[in-house]
């Protein structure tokens, strides 16, 4: 097909030639500069919900004046019914912690496959609030909990109960009323295995059930704050303005617990990154027209404003945001005035690569993906994979040596005899198995190290293979492993991953200058996180679903799917903070299937 046509498909060869080099893409700092994109899981979920006309109704909303009690939401998809069950309880300030070592939370919730009868609700009420300490039901697809943002909660409640709208600026600092501190799936604590979802048309994509749980919590947070305002001041309370509801997301607070997942699922990471890169490669080959240019300019402008409105106390992240914002005016001017050429998008990427910081470069890539939904959205169904790392035992050992030298050269370049390159060790604490980092030779626990650092293991195995080959130059891999079985695990990984380009994060996780924050952001960007707000170099708060369509908009079956999907980089609404009409809405009105009962 001619490249004069919009949405032109590339041959696989040309697409491969346009791919960015893995050595560049998989650098930890670049991965730690990614932004949420239209392939992120929250975006995919919202598109899927709209496309398939999912419907969400409130079937129980029994909260007291302080917002404590139970809420149940019913989700009907074309094929199945699910329920979100939320327990809200009083929590002492002294017990409020975002860490995994916490034992109580403001709300706890689960997403159930099928209906919730009294017996199941009773079982959930006894176990879901306990989270890890409970024994969860196998029909739960997701188990999660969240804590209130006390400042936002207080200011929202104060404003709404007095008939005012909260100041949107509150949400530029913290974009939510609740932040989750863990969202569990895949069999944790007795809930359903992911295997059960693989053939489920609704939730076969990675983390889509978890994202649905978060989306339901967002809906609950809106209903709950309005309910509390109404209970506090029935005469004056105002409903939350729709634009503010849209600007309200759900936070997530996370630490090193995300790191093991990224290292232990290289085939999944490969799919996520490769899909994004293949989509980008296709996009760069498109011949832009004025329409695409105007659209990209508008997106750049919106992203610039969004980043200006993103407030974080973290100095380094503030500087990164400012650097990105500073890059954009020149980029927009350039884009406005250069002639439209067939390679314009590639030129833009190349120039940005030379001139701008990593976050600005990745912002350009993210926004380019927005221009061609028909090309990019095909990749969202390629994000899942059946994971399996297997040996190729009959491979000649000398071939394996070559494979390591070709595909893991980045690991072999590190000198592990230097103290700075073996500084950290990763371990799990006896406190709820929380992953932590310790300084080798200084802190206790290195003898129980988690083998997350792949690079030193690659180098160690390469050295052992080289030595073995001196005496056995024609040996097979299996013969080497029978003599040196401790290398079996890493050989399996190397052989399985050698045919891929984007599965291995090319960093030494032992290195003193390694920044765990980059690992967290890598995963969170694929979730669809915005407003990265680091609290240390290994702890971050982010926001999900800020700007996303509301449940009532979803239920109204949107006529314009493009507009419905256009909610990235949301902006603070302009709100007249005057008294609005008295609130009369009951959460169940208009969308209730079974008032006060169960379905």
């Amino acid at each position: 097909m001619s490249r004069n046509h919009q949405g032109a498909r590339l041959s696989s060869t040309e697409q491969r030639l346009r791919l960015r080099a893995p050595d560049d893409v998989m650098q930890l700092e670049r991965l730690g500069s990614l932004h949420a994109s239209r392939l992120s899981f929250v975006r995919s979920l919202v598109r899927q919900m709209a496309h398939e006309k999912w419907n969400i109704t409130t079937t129980r909303f029994e909260l007291d004046a302080l917002g404590h009690g139970v809420a149940i939401y019913c989700l009907q998809t074309p094929s199945k019914r699910y329920h979100g069950v939320i327990f809200s309880q009083a929590l002492e300030d002294s017990a409020r912690s975002d860490r995994v070592i916490a034992e109580a939370w403001d709300v706890t919730f689960g997403v159930v496959e099928g209906d919730v009868d009294d017996a199941l609700l009773e079982q959930m009420a006894a176990n879901v609030p306990l989270q890890e300490a409970g024994r969860q039901h196998p029909r739960l697809l997701v188990l999660s909990r969240a804590n209130r943002s006390l400042r936002n909660f207080a200011s929202f409640l104060e404003a709404l109960s007095s008939g005012q709208q909260p100041d949107p600026e509150w949400l530029t600092r913290v974009g939510y009323l609740y932040r989750t501190t863990a969202v569990y799936g895949n069999g944790k604590f007795g809930i359903a295995d992911y295997d059960r979802l693989k053939d489920n048309a609704d939730f076969h994509r990675p983390f889509s059930a978890q994202m649905l749980g978060v989306y339901l919590l967002r809906h609950f947070s809106i209903q709950q704050i309005e309910h509390m305002a109404r209970a506090r001041a029935p005469e004056t309370a105002a409903p939350l303005a729709t634009s503010l509801k849209r600007y309200l997301g759900i936070g997530n607070s996370t630490g090193l617990g995300m790191a093991p997942f990224l290292i232990n699922h290289p085939q999944l990471v490969q799919r996520w990154v490769e899909s994004r890169e293949l989509a980008l490669a296709e996009v760069t080959a498109q011949v832009p027209g004025e329409q695409e240019r105007s659209r990209l300019l508008a997106l750049l402008k919106r992203a610039e404003t969004h980043l200006r409105q993103t407030v974080t106390d973290d100095h380094e992240q503030t500087l990164r945001n400012q650097a990105t914002v500073a890059s954009l005016p020149e980029l927009m001017t350039w884009l406005e005035f250069v002639p439209l050429s067939p390679e314009l998008w590639q030129e833009l990427i190349d120039w940005s690569h030379q001139q701008h910081g990593l976050e600005a470069q990745e912002l350009v890539n993210t926004l380019l993906l927005e221009l061609y939904p028909s090309i990019v959205d095909r990749y969202e169904d390629l994000m899942a994979v059946e994971e399996s790392l297997e040996l190729t035992p009959d491979m000649p050992l000398v071939h394996l040596k070559q494979v390591i030298e070709t595909h893991y050269d980045w690991a072999l370049r590190v000198d592990f005899s230097l103290a700075e390159n073996r500084h950290w060790f990763w371990y799990r604490s006896v406190e709820k198995e929380e992953p932590r980092l310790g300084v080798r030779d200084t802190e206790a626990g290195a003898d129980k190290e988690m083998k997350l650092a792949i690079a030193p293991r690659d180098a160690d195995t390469h050295a052992a293979i080289s030595q073995y080959l001196e005496d056995h130059p024609r040996a097979l891999v299996v013969e080497f492993l029978i003599q040196c079985p401790r290398h079996k695990d890493i050989v399996r990984r190397i052989q399985s991953m050698a045919s891929t380009s984007f599965g291995e994060i090319r960093a030494n996780l032992w290195a003193r200058d390694m920044k765990p924050m980059h690992l967290l952001r890598t995963k969170l960007s694929f979730f669809g996180a915005s407003r990265f707000d680091p609290k240390s170099d290994r702890w971050v708060r982010i926001t999900l679903f800020q700007g996303a369509p509301l449940v009532e908009e979803l239920n109204a079956e949107p006529q314009d799917p493009v507009a419905f999907d256009d909610w990235s980089f949301p902006l603070a609404p302009q709100i007249a903070r005057t008294v609005l009409p008295e609130m009369t809405a009951d959460p169940r009105q208009g969308n209730t299937t079974t008032v006060g009962g169960m379905s």
């Binding site: 300030d93 409020r96 912690s97 975002d98 860490r99 024994r135 196998p138 804590n147 943002s149 006390l150 069999g187 944790k188 604590f189 007795g190 809930i191 359903a192 295995d193 992911y194 295997d195 059960r196 607070s253 630490g255 090193l256 399996s388 297997e390 040996l391 035992p393 009959d394 371990y427 799990r428 604490s429 006896v430 406190e431 198995e433 929380e434 992953p435 932590r436 310790g438 802190e443 206790a444 626990g445 129980k448 083998k451 097979l476 299996v478 492993l481 029978i482 003599q483 079985p485 401790r486 290398h487 079996k488 695990d489 890493i490 399996r492 765990p516 609290k535 240390s536 290994r538 702890w539």
Partner: protein, 262 residues
């Protein structure tokens, strides 16, 4: 209590690591136990019976090749459990069968042989037809209720479940020395499923067909997997050996702030 497959696999892997298994061996052993439990073949009960043996087995010798040619190999497992020692012997057979069309592997002196099935499933998943055969290791004496029992497990290439036949042989052959080995046949291109011959006098003790095993799997995914509470606690206690004691330094190593009341 009921647990998920992922929980079962994860806890077994940690418990095996805590017992001193290398990471690769721990993952393989967890696969084998969880696989059996998933198909209601009592993987955990078998693990429970062999747990003491595993904990006391401090012999670090890897399996040793006693004899090998192009399509045959004999390995001495030095009395280890197959959970710890069989995977590479099986991979050797896989390599030979790929090269020669058919391979025979004999693993001598190994324990807990039934648990090898989980690894055979992985080989089958990689396109290999596999059949394993073993006899009971105890002294056979039918008079005291200890008949000679033979077990045959056959996987069709690319099938996740085997056909299993367990039977007692009434006509005990003269050569019936105690046998703690296992014999495997792997074939690239032909099925090797077990089919009992009727002209021998045997008592069929167990017959697991592919369809029944698949139903077990479906049930486990829907309802969870039943485990013994006491064994579960024991495995959990074992797995804590991998955890590091908490100190003030280590708490700061998580990187979180001191308060979340904001």
């Amino acid at each position: 209590m009921k647990v998920s497959y992922n929980e079962l696999h994860g806890l077994c892997r940690k418990a095996f690591q805590a017992m001193g298994f290398e990471d690769g061996d721990a993952g393989d052993a967890a696969d084998m136990v969880a696989w059996m439990q998933l198909y209601e073949l009592e993987g955990l009960a078998a693990l429970n019976r062999g747990l003491r043996f595993l904990l006391e087995d401090t012999d670090e010798r890897p399996p040793e090749i006693v004899y090998a040619d192009g399509d045959l190999a004999v390995l001495d497992s030095h009395g280890h459990s197959v959970l710890k020692s069989s995977s590479l012997a099986l991979e050797l057979g896989f390599a030979k069968a790929r090269a020669r069309g058919l391979a025979v592997i004999k693993i001598q002196h190994c324990h807990n042989r039934q648990r090898i099935m989980g690894y055979l499933a992985r080989l089958a998943g990689r396109g290999m037809n596999v059949t394993a055969f073993w006899r009971n290791a105890q002294d056979v004496d039918e008079a005291v209720g200890c008949p000679m029992i033979e077990q045959v497990v056959g996987f069709r290439a690319n099938s996740s479940v085997p056909e299993i036949r367990v039977y007692a042989v009434r006509e005990v052959p003269e050569e019936n020395e105690p046998n703690d080995g296992i014999t495997l046949v792997m074939a690239n291109h032909v099925d090797l499923l077990p089919s009992l011959r009727s002209d021998y006098d045997v008592d069929l003790l167990a017959c697991h067909e592919e369809s029944k095993l698949l139903a077990c799997r479906q049930r486990a995914m829907q309802e969870g997997i039943e485990v013994d509470d006491e064994l579960w606690s024991r495995l959990k206690a074992l797995s804590t050996r991998l955890l590091v004691e908490a100190t003030e330094d280590s708490r700061s190593g998580a990187g979180a702030g001191s308060t979340d009341n904001d």
